[in-house]
């Protein structure tokens, strides 16, 4: 007879525990689970210690997978003795029954006494769409979880009943490599474990070793970024995940966070930042005039703040600029539809830049 596999041990452990009204002691568990029973009953002291460690690992791994095995203190011997046992409550283990308001449950028979959750059409539709969106994100770090959650909700809710917006994400080259790096990074963010990696910085063209405390991951313009406290530079930095190599989270002391995330850290504040808004320099205020109809586009996309609406003559908008170079290149990219009006030194820089670029085409007609 071959030894039960890990999967079989896990299934047995779940089957043994789920739904029991009173906690199960370690001794009862050891006797009831085939993979543990023989060596527990007849083994040496070393065997028993070894099989106990196997159980502890199984329990911890199942908890990590979301199986809510509880450790419970309870009394025996008519309340005179406190002991510890394990429990897997049906209410926690099984998905509650999901029912649309005014509809019958999709699955009419109810094998267990569980909570029933009544959902409106909107709630149910947006829950399914929300999970679809996470699963469809390129290199999504929660793709597997979003797919499995979708399957569970679809057990009671018919996805074909709900209309969702048809969304297609176009993946950039290297998306698989990014997905492979996002997995350990996502785990490190959640567990607050330090991470080491090699990073290819574009501005200096150099590859450096980094040691960081990862605070969060964000997706923008088809690209994943990590926001982290770089311990070598003692500063917050944003790293493009696609430029990382050899991502290595700290494996020591799992379950113990390596760092706290500052309470004032807001990952959302990193979204929709333009290149000229990044950096540690003091910002300067720049005014840019937009020709019509580009002025409509600037207003629609809230680029800067409107200072003067000149109707069909365009508009004047104000920007807070921390890095002049990317800002001037952005204004230049509008090919004459935008120009820097102030401050004078920035205006001069803009004219110089335009002159240098024009010189590249000096011989052209």
């Amino acid at each position: 007879m071959t030894a039960p596999t890990k999967l079989q041990r896990w299934l047995d452990l779940i089957a043994f525990l789920v739904g029991r009204r009173i906690p199960v002691s370690v001794d009862d568990l050891m006797a009831g689970i085939p993979a543990y029973a023989d060596r527990w009953a007849e083994g040496t002291h070393t065997d028993r210690a070894s099989i106990r460690r196997t159980f502890e690992r199984d329990k911890d791994e199942l908890r990590k997978l979301g199986i809510p095995i509880e450790t419970v203190k309870y009394h025996i011997n008519y309340g005179t003795e406190e002991t510890e046992g394990y429990q897997l409550r049906k209410d926690n283990f099984y998905l509650p029954y999901l029912r649309l308001v005014g509809n019958q449950l999709r699955q009419p028979d109810r094998p267990y006494r569980l909570q029933e959750v009544e959902l409106t059409e909107e709630e149910a539709g947006s829950a399914l769409e929300a999970l679809q969106r996470v699963a469809e994100l390129p290199a999504s770090p929660l793709k597997r979880e979003a797919n499995s959650a979708f399957r569970k909700l679809a057990f009671d809710l018919d996805p074909d009943h709900f209309q969702t917006a048809p969304v297609l994400h176009l993946e950039r080259p290297g998306s698989e490599e990014v997905r492979a790096r996002l997995k350990p990074l996502g785990e490190a963010v959640r567990a607050r474990k330090a991470v080491r990696f090699r990073y290819h910085g574009m501005y200096r063209g150099a590859t450096t070793d980094r040691h960081v405390h990862p605070y969060g991951l964000f997706f923008q313009h088809g690209t994943w970024y990590l926001v982290a406290h770089d311990t070598g530079r003692d500063a917050l930095r944003t790293f493009r995940v696609g430029r990382m190599e050899d991502v290595e989270p700290n494996r020591k002391a799992p379950g113990t966070p390596d760092f706290p995330v500052p309470p004032d850290f807001k990952l959302e504040s990193y979204l929709q930042r333009e290149a000229w808004e990044l950096g540690d320099d003091a910002p300067l205020t720049a005014r840019v005039s937009f020709r019509f109809p580009r002025s409509l586009w600037a207003e629609r996309n809230r680029h800067g703040t409107l200072v003067e609406d000149r109707g069909e003559d365009g508009s004047l908008r104000e920007f807070s600029v921390q890095q002049a170079d990317p800002f001037l290149r952005w204004v230049l990219s509008m090919a004459g539809d935008a120009r820097v009006e102030s401050p004078p030194e920035l205006q001069t820089e803009f004219r110089e830049l335009a002159g240098q670029v024009a010189a590249l085409y000096a011989g052209a007609r």
Binding site: P111, F218, G222, L267, R302
Partner: protein, 320 residues
């Protein structure tokens, strides 16, 4: 010869089985192919997973799971289980985090007037279907809505696409003298590195067109509805390097990028290396104006090399 077991981990198998068992225990069973599709795996893997459970019969089974009977007949799996595993398991903390993140994506992309309502609804739902607080887990991941506007235009475009209703848009084409009205049946909303696009049938051109969402200045949902053609395949309009393309309107523009920015281009796609460390990229573009703006955005670090007629245009744009 016995086929080798597909490579998988115990946690992946457990996740699949906790779905397979309840799914095959209802409605008189389920087709293996249907299970495989739902789980993103193969029918062979499903059979292998179930065999792991049935082999338990060869040793003393635990608890009341001995009542579990598994029948694989033809292309169908049926489970008889009067006891355990007849419901999917509750959402795990990470599944709940995925749900929370998804709601935040929808809220960020949605109509700003109902954003708070959607988030409140999400919090209520998460509290009811998941036992674990998800806020900490979900807080570590954020997704940009990909639209700098207030969100109301994008929300109307999405709603029109979701309900298959024609959408009137006020569209500002790149380089146009004024915005123009278009009526569009949106077949897909496409997210590329440059942002969101409406991909669908343009009634003015009577042809497929893509409209960049950041250039949609206004949108109105019309009464007319439409069906997405059965043969519509979005992949016919996309390239492997993640952009939209128009085979009948594409022109090649060659751009040289300086060594200073060459790495940025190398990570985006194929380049032609030059001896001085610069790179050449052959852009296939549907709108030459796009490449003009793209090149100017690199300042002196990018230069159009060809076609020749575009070089003169660059000079005129810079003079403006």
């Amino acid at each position: 010869m016995v086929a080798a077991a597909p490579r998988t981990t115990a946690s992946e198998q457990l996740e699949r089985l906790l779905y397979i068992l309840p799914r095959a225990a209802r409605d008189g069973g389920v087709r293996l192919e249907e299970l495989a599709e739902a789980l993103g795996t193969t029918a062979e893997q499903i059979v292998h997973d179930l065999e792991e459970v049935t082999t338990r019969a060869y040793y003393h089974p635990a608890g009341s799971a001995e009542d579990l009977q598994i029948l694989i007949e033809g292309d169908r799996a049926t489970i008889f289980s009067p006891g355990k595993f007849r419901r999917p398991v509750a959402l795990s903390p990470l599944e709940s985090a995925a749900l929370a993140l998804g709601f935040r994506i929808l809220a960020a992309e949605g109509d700003p007037t109902i954003r708070a309502d959607l988030l409140a609804r999400a919090a209520r739902l998460e509290a009811r279907v998941a036992d674990t607080p998800t806020e900490d887990l979900a807080r570590g991941v954020a997704v940009d809505a990909g639209d700098r506007g207030d969100g109301d235009i994008a929300a109307r475009v999405r709603e029109a696409a979701r309900t298959h209703r024609r959408c009137s848009i006020r569209y500002l084409k790149l380089g146009a003298e004024a915005p123009e009205e278009r009526n569009v049946d949106t077949y897909a909303l496409v997210n590329a590195a440059a942002g969101w696009y409406m991909l669908g049938h343009c009634h003015m051109r009577e042809a497929m067109r893509a409209f960049r969402l950041d250039r949609v200045l206004d949108a109105t949902i019309r009464e007319e509805s439409y069906e997405v053609p059965a043969d519509f395949d979005p992949s016919a309009w996309t390239t492997p390097d993640g952009r939209l393309f128009w085979a009948d309107r594409e022109a090649e523009v060659v751009v040289r990028y300086s060594p200073k920015v060459a790495d940025w281009l190398r990570e985006r796609g194929p380049v032609e290396e030059q001896k001085d460390g610069s790179v050449l990229v052959r852009h296939q573009v549907g709108d030459v104006r796009w490449v003009v703006e793209h090149v100017l955005g690199y300042g002196v670090d990018a230069e159009v090399v060809g076609p020749g007629e575009l070089l003169g245009k660059m000079t005129r744009y810079l003079a403006a």
